[in-house]
Amino acid sequence: MSSQDKVKINRLPTGVPGLDEIVGGGLPEFSFNIIAGAPGSGKTTLAHQFVFANATPERPALYFTVLGESAIKMLRYQQQYTFFDPAMLPGSIRFINLSQVVLEKDLGAVLEEITKEVEKFNPAVVVVDSFRTMVRKPESDIDLQSFIQRLALFLASWQATTFLIGEYAEEELRDNPIFTVADGLLWLRQTAERNSIVRKLQIIKLRGQDSVPGLHTFRITDAGVQAFSRTFGLTGKARNPSSHRRLTFGIPDLDKMLGGGVREGDSVLIAGSSGTGKSVLATQFIAEGIRQGEPGIVAVFEERPQAYAERAGSLGLDLETPQKASVITSKAANSYQFKTGQRKWPSRTEIVLPCRLLWWQVGFGAPAPRAALEHVPVV
């Protein structure tokens, strides 16, 4: 089948910064998705971001709350996020509580209630939060698999993009029929790394389009969930080095040994034991760039930028003057944030090219940012 004959699957923005890059531009329209994870992992917040990014008065979002967090408290907390727009309620986003139906009736009645509301409001997005609490009822007159099949079929037919939110353990992945029916499965985790907790997101399944595999770090701030692709995302275009220019250290014999200097775009590791001159050499690289009119960025770990500049000054390398002139930028950085991917600094858009980047104290655990930068020489 030619590409012209294929049905075009629209991609809906997730409303989560960084997540669209991971899922190739957005989530497929009319898909039936599961957001799974432990309590407190950010499932509801992520769903809210999607809802606020896509709901309109013409095609609203229906947010079914079941047992668990009460709707009034959920709204109380969720409105603290910057993406929350109270003006969208209830015209574009309707919260509907199903707890009474779930408590007093069976899954058939729940399906009937969802059907009734969907037919009434013609939503573009449907969320059931938490779906898990709904399907724990053992006395249902229709079995779980049948319920899920009918729900998925109905919501897809009504052109709704659906999210079921649930607290699932990873060992349930194999046996639970819901994961077979789902088009997309987003798993949110909180993992302990030494004394810190790192949030990770995984796209376990996404029918119809590519996604970046693996575990992606995410964080929850007052702007909601923000995801960081573990590699290049699928939507950003990689830029190739534009030249084979060599960048000198300003040390004639060393530059000669290197064939004219470090090739533009390369990453260079300066290794050596304490006191062998690694820092001096790296600082000279930046200072030489300044002499040649190239802006520089110095990521300083475990040290204050001012102390770093003063130490360079004692070696006859003036970094303070260009820093004041914004030719060189020094940033005190937390290596942990880089290591976990929570901070990518500088981003491509922040860099004024040509530019030299000095990644300081890599040995403390921050990965050199080669993956985040192209044709910026990293030392």
Partner: protein, 140 residues
Amino acid sequence: MRDLAHRLVTYEAGAGKTPEPMESPTLRVYEKLRQSLVEFVGVAGFQSLASRALTLATPEAPCLSEARVTADGSLQGLGEIETQIDIDKDRAGEGGIVLIARLLGLLRVFLGEALTLSLLRNAWPGEAFDDRNAGNGRKA
């Protein structure tokens, strides 16, 4: 919130000048709030809020001591109080307004003003609820 409650009751009193409805405007306001809120907080959620509002309102308006919130969240007793001939109608009406004001106050505490007003706009689509005219009567 009292001004807003008064305004809603006044609005419903005006809207109720038709042959069919016999219940009090306060009850109509309460019912509209109930229907609107039950949709998203559930029956049990609304029942809890309404019970709390009644408890808070009763010391301020003792005539409400005869009223009670039923299991489905509806209000019993207020209509009877308001229709009793030997009770000052103004006092009874004032009790209803206190109750509505307390209910709206709870919503404001939990959801904030913006979201509360959004919900009211949904229940009374023809009304413009904002700070400027919150204290006025029915919009012309």
